[in-house]
Subunit: 597 residues, 2 copies
């Protein structure tokens, strides 16, 4: 029985036919590679979309993944779809009405740019195994030749996922003054040992294929099809998640699709892998696979925070970093390591871990596109606006007494971190009024997107995990606005807050407020704390901690925190409270610092 | 530079030398296999430990994983260590002073039991590719021949991890009256599509090796060493976790150990894989690998709860099921699916997900042994005692007013489920006094172990995930004793409780207690609720919900829950409260049921 498994995955459906819109440029000056080898000349295949403006400040370079090429999107209705068709085009997040988009096939590839499959002009024979070992640096160096050739001094952004993300990171440090921003998706500063192991087994499969002939297979008129197909099968397992494989294959588990293949096709997943393996061999070169996968494996910006910081220190761009929760090939914590290094270096960074079931491939797929597509659209718009005009959009002044009070506490120019920043309302106001350097931490993706839309730098973070990325005294003020009561590990979060900030500003609902006391004492019911955001009953409120101002003062005394100001508010009457604050304030703002120890 | 990577993993260090203590028996009656093929005779290689007692009721069958064999432990000081040396021996959890332990090499194997590497007596040639397709059922059938041969009617337990766990499950349903208990570790009722995919790629690698010769490689005087080595490398990646690979390889990432191999040895993980691959080829047969891995892949007790229940319905044994949190080859949720089916069928089951960084191999390793080893020891002791005497040990009567009150509410013979059962104190008391059928759910591993030690059936569960395994009205009483206030999603948990139980018994600390009111009203401080377990301050209590009796009554009215009894207690004065319970009780017990809808 023929089953209905969708065999088409984003980057393997395209066949090997020539791409109609590919342009080509040959650089005839010999290129010295990072390891000292030399290429006598380099040919670069690329495609462009949109128009370079007169200021030449709207150019975006896109970098492809392992099996990708220059064809990132279709050029017209007759054209084949590209590997990121959802992202690139008129009115799409990377809007070709506004931006000039460039995508090259990478050095070492087999889709137009110089690679092992090409003729070595010095010998007149294919490079084959003699193609030198290349690095991500070499790939980026070749891209930069093209950018020069196109007359572009500075790129608005370099964008890449997976391998493409390695290239984008390399750009940020190799040519720090040649790009305004970087967007990374599903990538890492270096592979995990697990991902490395898969690459090694894949290469072992290729090299063990008797048709590999030490890489000189073309001369024998054969190709190492079995080894390359097995490498590709392995790759496919790592691009999918366990969940997405269950969805795709479990229903028809034992019924393989009828695929003509020498490989096992009995199980549905087996027929899928056989198909993908065989298909890949038609369009990809084994030596290219070896060369590029080695470049990936050797890429390493550092395994410790210190090494990573050293690598990233000279970057000057703004960053948007996106990981995908079920990606186990480039797991989220690796993106977070890059983010942490950038935070620690005071670089401008935005980060979100996009919830997804679709594994590493998620960044190429439409499922989570409404979230990550919009983040990319907003980020590019902001970066472009800022570069063009230095302007930031205006926001409405929030009519919130607690915000106003907090704003008054912060002097012009102070660096401010907001823990649990929500939609960024306070930070937007602060930046507009006081021109502060601000960063928000927030756990909910939808709020992260809203911050990015407002051009507030935001890093998705669970506060209960602490602020380990941050340096001691990195900020002048750290704000915890009506968030304390939702935190499990209060002591840890406050310790962290006062380590990172010279001053902390905490606001919280006061359980000691007379209305709460009355309700418990007279009605015998638990106080209902309505603080404007997600109000709830005792059985469903987001609050998990209940404290009075007196409790907080006791706590500060025990912790030896120093209280500099205490501003009790009656927000219902929109006024500051004069006497008996623990009785009369429904919300309190406290400015504190760690004591002398 | 030579690096210090520990290359020895549990099951691949043994070389191929003959095992001194292996016994052998040949069954000369032809064996018809599940798929209809016939084996003219079957030879079984096995080892035994300890002594079969006169009642023949102390025999335990151990089942090995893919590359294991009969040598589960050393027999004496001179003997080589076995694959589960930590578990089996005098005074070890599977105590050979007490139990008679049997371990066979499985059918299709290459370590003594009939497999493709053997001579087919009908042809005088090796079976090779002609060895018939076998199932886990066939493997178990052959084990049962040996059990007959040893004169054992009923096994005290069948114990297995990974592939061995498939055999143990098969035993429970194929011979339900021939075993008292089953212990499963790191296994599943069927593979994930991801695990299946790895097996398929491994077989493709073996079959693509030109030395495979369609399985008749022995006749050509070669072996498909490359393919088998690549299969083994892949296997090794899946046996480790990402975390354990980082620990093992990240420090010396680029420094491979000097290993003589045709495979890539550049990275530390590469040299490890090359070593493991080459080593495996010396001791394992490629056709055995193919035959056994296909048997694994075809094992399927069902993918839906209904199918699983159908498969497991006829089992009559007690179950201990252990998964390991970082095992991604047989992930924990698959063990939980078996547990859920058994719960729903009212089978006696214990379950724990052992926290571990060591992936699938964790069940063979010493790291988590103090936890899972003790669980196995306790479980076997309880099963053996119960079988021998029907006795259960005596426990001290707990001097706790709330327990006494709850016990008085439950009639003799009622089926009782305790949500958040802790160390099982209430259930132990209940079973002893009322002879009830009891089951506890508990999240903390250390409490799960204590329940198992007391012979209280316990399933590790996060209550916030609900009780989906349970049938409507499966229990007469469901208890939530001083746990309500620690639950995030109160409404969901209570709905589930009253779905599964005809009656629910809830006890919780009452925020309305006069002392709490006074503290807030007069001192302006948050009530401090000391309820004997993990008391804490406002900033670190495990409680996240605070409610009065009046709040709970309002809630029940809103939810249309029916309150049958309400027992207000003043536990400080060790008495029941007579008037104004919301004022005078510090703890309340409420018996309720869902209303008519």
């Amino acid at each position: 029985m023929e089953t209905k498994i969708d065999f088409d995955s984003t980057d393997s459906v395209r066949n090997a036919k020539p791409l109609r819109h590919v342009q080509e440029v040959i650089f005839r000056t010999p290129l010295t590679l990072e390891h000292g080898d030399m290429l006598p000349e380099v040919k670069v295949a690329y495609e462009t979309y949109g128009t370079l403006n007169s200021k030449k400040d709207n150019a975006i370079l896109l970098c492809h993944a392992l099996s990708g090429d220059s064809h990132v999107a279709s050029h017209d209705a007759e054209d084949d779809p590209g590997w990121w068709e959802i992202m690139v085009g008129p009115d799409k997040p990377i809007d070709t009405n506004q931006f000039f988009v460039i995508c090259t096939n990478c050095l070492g590839g087999c889709r137009g740019t110089t690679g092992p499959d090409d003729i070595n002009p010095k010998t007149g024979r294919r490079y084959g195994i003699d193609f030198p070992e290349i690095t991500i640096g070499d790939i980026v160096e070749v891209q930069s030749l093209l950018i020069d050739h196109l007359g572009i001094g500075r790129l608005l952004s370099v964008v890449g996922g997976s391998l493409g993300g390695l290239m984008a990171q390399e750009w940020s440090t190799r040519f720090p003054d040649r790009l305004v921003s970087v967007i990374l998706l599903a990538t890492a500063a270096r592979l995990t040992s697990q991902a490395l192991a898969f690459d090694i087994v894949a290469r072992n499969a290729i090299q063990s294929d008797p048709n590999f002939h030490g890489g000189q297979y073309h001369e024998k008129g054969v190709i190492p099809a079995d080894g390359l197909a097995i490498a590709r099968m392995l790759g496919h397992i790592t691009y999918l998640s366990r969940e997405s494989m269950m969805k795709k294959f479990d229903a028809n588990r034992t019924q393989g699709r009828q695929v003509k293949s020498k490989f096992e096709t009995k199980f549905s997943v087996g027929s899928y892998l056989a198909y993908q393996g065989d298909k890949f061999v038609e369009r990809f070169d084994a030596n290219s696979y070896m060369v590029i996968s080695k470049a990936i494996d050797n890429f390493d910006l550092g395994s410790t925070p210190e090494e990573l910081k050293k690598s990233l220190r000279k970057s000057m761009c703004r960053w948007l970093i996106l990981s995908f929760s079920s990606d186990w090939l480039f797991p989220s914590f690796l993106s977070r390591e890059i983010v942490d290094a950038l935070i620690s270096l005071n670089k401008r960074v935005n980060y979100c871990d996009i919830p997804s079931e679709y594994g590493h491939d998620a960044f190429l797929l439409p499922h989570e596109f409404p979230l990550y597509g919009e983040m990319i659209r907003s980020f590019l718009r902001n970066v472009f606006c800022e570069q063009a005009s230095g302007e930031t959009p205006l926001f409405q002044r929030p009519d919130r007494l607690d915000y106003e009070q907090i704003l008054d506490l912060i002097p012009r120019g102070a660096k401010v971190l907001d823990l649990g920043c929500g939609k960024g309302g306070l930070l937007a106001r602060l930046r507009q009024r006081e021109n502060n350097r601000v960063l928000g931490l927030e756990i909910k993706e939808k709020y992260v997107l809203q911050c990015i839309s407002r051009d507030i730098d935001v890093v998705q973070t669970d506060l209960n995990a602490g602020l380990k990325a941050f340096e001691d005294d990195q900020f002048d003020f750290v704000i915890l606005s009506k968030t304390l009561q939702t935190v499990s590990d209060v002591e840890f979060v406050l310790d962290e807050m006062l380590r990172v900030g010279t001053r902390g500003i905490v606001s919280f609902p006061n359980l000691g407020f007379h209305e709460h006391r009355r309700r418990l004492a007279e009605e015998g019911k638990a106080p209902r704390i309505d603080h404007g955001r997600d109000p709830g009953e005792w059985y469903n409120t987001v609050d998990v901690r209940f404290l009075t101002l007196a409790d907080f003062e006791d706590f500060c005394a025990k912790k030896k925190f120093r209280i500099h100001h205490c501003i009790p508010l009656d927000t219902r009457q929109h006024k500051q409270v004069d006497d008996d604050p623990n009785q009369n304030a429904d919300v309190v703002i406290v400015v504190l610092s760690r004591g002398l120890s």
